[in-house]
């Protein structure tokens, strides 16, 4: 609270984001320890969590007051005008402090109290059990086992304690490999496809500047390949664009060579490699050819695949551009599409999707295991592994399965949520919408396969809301070790049970477990299938959305159907009861009397319900008020808006004169 100087400012104006004529709502602004609250004259409340604030900007003073623009991480943008500059300055400073905490302990999750006792809290945390999930996939089995190598986070700090590796990979091999891989993130199992016996594995890039080959790493890759009896080759997928790792790619190729035992020193210093790449490659080829070690059969057991997903910095600026474009006032269609194009956002989404499709195809069609990596193996690798699994396994398309997927491929494998989401006041270059992209890819899948997912768009939006909200402990911290140190399970709550309690809101009414039979989704990534996700990036701009939602209607109707089914059962049993009673009635009057008291009441409620039934239906379908002012048609006709007062005043003038 020490940051809050002013807790309440009156006569604040909230401007319409897209209006060019300063249309506004006037109300009172409150600052609490956790939220910014604006209550307008109609008592409509706008709550903004401090953690959601991405940037606060104080614009130049105008005649009506001091403008304050707040951009949120959930893509809400609010534009206030505070009458007095002093107040504005106070609020500005407070928000700057409140939106960027220095310590984890100051995050909302540590003070949030949903009134649960410790047992409930613990049960909440135990809701998603990853050991259970690996069991579901079918590991451990004869080829894969649980490794205790990282039990104490000694090998890799950013991996979870429990890792699954090929049974034939011994601990020294793992340790050796981990030394060869960036941040110690050696190849481990991410997803096991039981019927194909193929695996998705993940790791980080081999360390550059390493002066020799790494036998242990070679062994580990061999072991992964051998753990799949169904196929003699495996893929190594580098999710980075080829041009960015051109030099690096050569070394990738070399892994293959190493595996076929070309004994040569090929890992050179990065700088040397970059400078005389060609010379070296030639030399290498010569060496290989000259010594005649090349064994075609063995060489073919690793296939390299590049998919061009750009790095976190490119993604960050891409989103920045996208938001600039769609936040423009009076945006024209052409500016919108050229902005969409130049932001590159949809191109990046398509790249992630294409990578996941490649992965899923390798497993489903070729039964080949795939090792996925990028640089550190926690951004693009997480995107591709999780999306690939989602395509392959219908379980991940259920509400609970999706939670498991996020826990597994994102949280446990050390996607740096706190850094990527900017939970703390840290390096802005670490912030990147990697997880948002994953959610957007899933949304695109739900658009192409409207019946394949148990959850709906609101579920994705809600999860997106909470990766930034810091209200729950799940996404706080950057890896499991850090989370344990923060004692999140004791001090904070897990998001998942709350989402499950609210499940009704997140159910897809069209979900059909039948369509799950076609278990592997094969999305079409033709460019025209990718669309701007309006409900995400304009979630709070009500006027841009359809005024009637088919989805909500169907969802409510589905709910209503369930209720009706229940009613029918009740009614049928009552009728049956009555009928039997009627026949027995004369014999056992006492029985009748015992039931009778409830029947008049019941009848009353029933008849009430019958009347209520249709109005309910109507409520479902009413349109959210739409008005021409919201849509600013007249702004496109300057003459129109200017003309009106002139006409009116003239008429009044005439009227007065005649009086």
């Amino acid at each position: 609270m020490e940051h809050i100087r002013t807790t309440k400012v009156e006569q604040v104006k909230l401007l319409d984001r897209f209006s060019t004529s300063n249309k506004s709502l006037t109300g009172t602004l409150y600052l609490t320890a956790t939220h910014l609250l604006f209550i307008d004259a109609h008592q409509k409340e706008t709550w903004i969590l401090h953690h959601h604030i991405a940037s606060v900007e104080k614009l130049a003073l105008t005649t009506s007051g001091c403008p304050l623009v707040i951009q949120c991480k959930n893509f809400r943008t609010v534009h206030f005008i505070v009458p007095r500059e002093r107040d504005c300055h106070d609020i500005y400073n407070s928000l700057l402090q409140l939106s960027k905490q220095a310590k984890y302990e100051d995050l909302y999750a540590f003070s949030y109290n949903p009134k649960q006792n410790d047992a409930e809290r613990l049960r909440g945390w135990e809701l998603i059990d990853l050991a259970e999930e690996y069991k579901r996939m079918g590991v451990p089995n004869s080829n894969w086992q649980l490794s205790d190598a990282n039990r104490e986070y000694k090998i890799c700090e950013t991996y979870p304690r429990e890792l699954y590796v090929p049974r034939i990979a011994s601990k020294p091999i793992i340790v050796g490999s981990s030394k060869f891989r960036s941040k110690g993130r050696f190849p481990v199992l991410s997803y096991y496809h039981q019927s194909k016996e193929a695996a998705i594995c993940r790791c980080s890039q081999p360390l550059s500047g390493f002066s020799a080959r790494c036998l242990e790493d070679e062994h580990l890759l061999q072991a992964i390949s051998k753990a799949n009896p169904a196929n003699r080759y495996m893929y190594v997928m580098d999710t980075r664009p080829r041009h960015r790792v051109q030099s690096w790619w050569a070394t990738q190729k070399d892994i293959g060579r190493i595996i076929v035992r070309i004994s040569s020193k090929i890992w050179n210093d990065e700088k040397i490699r970059e400078s005389d790449e060609k010379k070296r490659l030639n030399a290498m080829a010569n060496r290989a050819a000259g010594k005649g070690y090349e064994n075609e059969d063995n060489y073919s057991n690793i296939r390299f695949q590049f998919v061009g997903i750009e790095n976190i910095h490119v993604m960050r600026s891409s989103l920045q551009k996208l938001l600039e474009v769609n936040g423009t006032k009076g945006l024209s269609v052409n500016d919108f599409y050229s902005g969409l194009e130049s932001s590159g956002w949809l191109r990046h989404i398509k790249a992630v999707m294409d990578a996941a499709i490649f992965l899923a195809k390798a497993i489903a069609a070729e039964s080949a295991s795939v090792l996925v990596h990028c640089s550190d193996g926690w951004d693009r690798t997480s995107q591709v592994c999780s999306l690939g699994s989602l395509l392959l396994d219908p379980y991940y398309r259920t509400i609970r399965g999706f939670m498991v997927l996020i826990e597994k491929d994102w949280i446990s494998f050390g996607h740096k949520f706190s850094e990527r989401c900017g939970h703390l006041d840290g390096d802005p270059k670490e912030v990147s919408p990697v997880f948002t992209q994953f959610l957007e890819c899933v949304w695109h899948l739900t658009e192409q396969f409207p019946q394949a997912f148990e959850f709906n768009e609101a579920f994705l939006l809600q999860i997106h809301e909470h990766i930034h909200s810091c209200q729950f402990g799940n996404f706080i911290g950057n890896c499991q070790k850090e989370r344990e140190e923060l004692k999140l399970k004791e001090k904070t709550y897990s998001l998942w049970p709350f989402l499950l309690d609210d499940q009704k809101k997140y159910l897809n009414p069209l979900y059909s477990s039948q369509s799950q039979k076609s278990a592997v989704l094969e999305p079409n990534t033709v460019s025209f299938n990718f669309k701007f996700w309006r409900n995400m990036y304009h979630q709070f701009d009500r006027t841009l959305h359809p005024r009637q939602s088919v989805f909500n209607i169907i969802m409510n109707m589905n709910e209503q159907n369930k209720q009706l089914e229940k009613d029918i059962k009740d009614l049928e049993s009552q009728i049956k009861q009555r009928k039997t009673k009627q026949t027995d009635g004369i014999l056992s009057k006492e029985l009748l009397n015992s039931v009778r008291p409830e029947s008049p009441a019941l009848k009353a409620t029933l008849s009430l319900k019958e009347q209520a039934l249709l109005p309910v239906n109507n409520v479902l379908r009413t349109i959210e008020g739409s008005s021409p002012a919201d849509n600013r048609y007249s702004e496109y006709a300057d003459e129109f808006s200017k003309a009106e007062p002139a006409v009116v005043s003239l008429e009044y003038g005439v009227a007065r004169m005649t009086c």
Partner: protein, 591 residues
């Protein structure tokens, strides 16, 4: 003309019409009846695998000549096997063919048929001569100059006509709907002989205060004789939308007292009106050099003019060509797709038209002012605006019958030159000035509103797609001709079937009904922000993507709605039963 060989011919053409939409891929190719100028055949029939015996001699003969021919559809998707004898058919109306290309690689000839509904079909035909013959036949048949040789004149329906569509939406009936509320307006037959305005219908609604002689004078002052007539009457406040051609002021600022009197007659005392000119000011000014122009403030002091810029003619046609070309390219990367979508300007046109229509509706409903809308001729952008404003304002025009009436009133009778505008579609390179997808843009705008208010329309997307198809190629006479006068001369009412006769049968209507429809009496204000507008996939990506999963989802949705109705009915029934039992009980117990 002895064109009709036998009535059975028509029987078959009709039975197969339904297959037309179902079938997909890999056709063997058969061309129906040998062709020469005097004996037109109206259909290209595409046959898969084996040929049904259904067609008698003709088809057998053709099977022999074309056996082993393979046709590769551009449509991707799985082959649908028909339940009968492994036969698949595709019937294509010749008038639906927009362009045809031929290519030869060695002895193999390829014909690519490009349809006006944007579908592309590729036929591989061995034998150069045969290929050339087929190609030239198709070419000749798809470009008949005489309207009277077109299929609608020979089509005989196989369904029972319940209601003759030609009489479904008579101007008198439409006026009846209003007559109780509008006393200041009358139905005028000044154009009975089409002599005052060739593109107007015989009956038009005009202010009561203006007599027919004045109308004749006004007609000379307006482009194409299109004097201001009533387009829509807003019952809520008595304000109106009128439409007309541009005033012929010319460079010397000609004026016409009767014209001023006519449009002022529609204003209530002390009220002002708006004139929406669909052209930008500079274009309107240029029009004066050619004798056209716009209403000068000095002569129309009670009216405020607003200029908008809705494009017309070849600009729209080029936009369509670019858009369709881009939609057909499956290989382009994301940047190219987005930049081509932008360069086509299609959605810009949509936005401009919708914005103008919304502005008109806003003037009427919120500002309480009457409006006059015109562009140059008043047959294109003017009609887009007047009809869309009605969709926004009037609940009736969002019902199936109301929408049909709207098309009849605001497009057919208002003289939108369908014959000219829809002569060619996106694949033709003739580039005639009068070819322009004005009506398609209107349908697209309706679709945009439908998407934003999915429960406020009685019809669904398929209804709009169907109208698009029939405007370009149809077995019905409804969209033939450029105006009522031409339709009268062609005797379409006597010689052809109306589209509405077919559509308004319950079996057809069920396909076009929106299961979510709930009558909504409010004015619906759509969003016109670029983020809210979308490419109409049902039209432009129709042949380029599989809609299997979307169709299944739609079916599921319909099932849920049907099930809901069923359950409600059942609950009500059971409650009644229970109530009866209870009263019986009561009767038994009380004594």
């Amino acid at each position: 003309m002895s064109v009709i060989k036998s009535s059975s011919f028509h029987t078959h053409t009709h039975t197969n019409l339904s297959l037309f939409q179902v079938l997909n891929n890999f056709w063997q190719f058969i061309q129906r009846t040998p062709c020469c100028a005097e004996v037109p055949a109206w259909w290209v029939q595409l046959h898969a695998f084996s040929v049904q015996g259904l067609f008698g001699k003709n088809s057998e003969q053709l099977t022999n000549s074309s056996s082993g021919l393979e046709l590769e559809g551009s449509v991707r998707g799985r082959r649908v096997e028909s339940p009968t004898d492994n036969t698949e058919e595709l019937w294509l109306l010749h008038s639906n063919i927009d362009a045809i290309d031929k290519r030869f690689v060695g002895p193999l000839g390829t014909i690519i048929i490009k349809c006006k509904d944007f579908r592309i079909i590729q036929l591989d035909i061995p034998g150069m001569e045969e290929c050339l013959n087929i190609a030239s036949s198709i070419e000749a048949l798809s470009t008949l100059d005489s309207i009277t040789l077109m299929y609608p004149f020979f089509y005989r329906p196989m369904f029972e006509v319940i209601e003759d569509g030609w009489h479904s939406f008579l101007p008198e009936q439409e006026f009846e709907l209003y007559s109780s509320t509008i006393s200041e307006w009358r139905l005028s037959y000044v154009n009975k002989e089409f002599s005052v305005c060739p593109s107007y219908p015989p009956a038009v609604i005009v202010p009561k205060a203006i007599d027919d002689d004045a109308l004749r004078k006004v007609a000379t002052f307006r482009h194409g004789g299109r004097f201001p007539v009533l387009s829509y009457y807003h019952k809520k406040n008595g304000m109106v939308i009128m439409r007309s051609g541009q005033p012929l002021t010319g460079t010397n600022g000609r004026r016409c007292k009767e014209d001023e009197k006519l449009i002022n007659a529609t204003l209530r005392a002390g009220k002002r009106g708006y004139i929406i000119d669909t052209r930008p000011l500079n274009i309107a000014q240029q029009a004066r050099a050619k004798g056209g122009g716009f209403e000068q403030e000095a002569h129309y002091p009670q009216w405020r003019r607003i200029h908008k810029s809705i494009d017309r003619y070849h600009i729209l046609q080029e936009s369509l060509i670019k858009l369709v070309e881009s939609c057909n390219d499956q290989t382009q990367n994301m940047d190219r797709w987005l930049s081509k979508l932008e360069a086509s300007n299609w959605l810009t046109h949509i936005k401009e038209i919708l914005t103008t229509a919304c502005l008109a509706a806003q003037c009427l409903d919120r500002e309480g002012a009457s409006i006059l809308i015109h562009g140059t001729e008043g047959t294109d952008s003017t009609l887009q605006v007047t009809s869309l404003a009605q969709i926004i304002l009037e609940p009736r025009s969002r019902t199936i019958r109301g929408f049909e009436a709207l098309i009849e009133r605001e497009w057919l009778q208002a003289g939108h030159p369908f014959q000219q505008r829809c002569a060619q579609s996106a694949y033709c390179n003739s580039k005639q000035k009068w070819e322009s997808p004005v009506f398609l843009l209107f349908l697209d705008c309706v679709w945009q509103i439908l998407r934003q208010f999915p429960c406020s329309f009685e019809f669904n997307e398929n209804f709009l797609i169907m109208l698009f198809e029939h405007a370009y190629a149809s077995q019905f006479g409804t969209f033939l001709g450029n105006n009522e006068s031409e339709r009268c001369k062609l005797k379409l009412q006597q010689k052809t079937m109306s589209l509405w006769s077919w559509v308004n049968r319950p079996s057809e209507l069920s396909k076009f009904t929106n299961p979510l429809f709930e009558a909504n009496n409010l004015v619906i204000w759509p969003s016109v922000a670029p983020q809210s507008l979308q490419l109409w996939e049902g039209i432009f990506l129709r042949w380029n993507r599989s809609s299997k999963y979307l169709d299944e989802a739609y079916e599921e949705m319909v099932n849920i709605i049907e099930y809901n109705k069923e359950l409600q009915a059942k609950v009500n029934l059971l409650r009644r039963q229970l109530a009866e039992l209870e009263t019986e009980d009561g009767v038994q117990e009380s004594p």
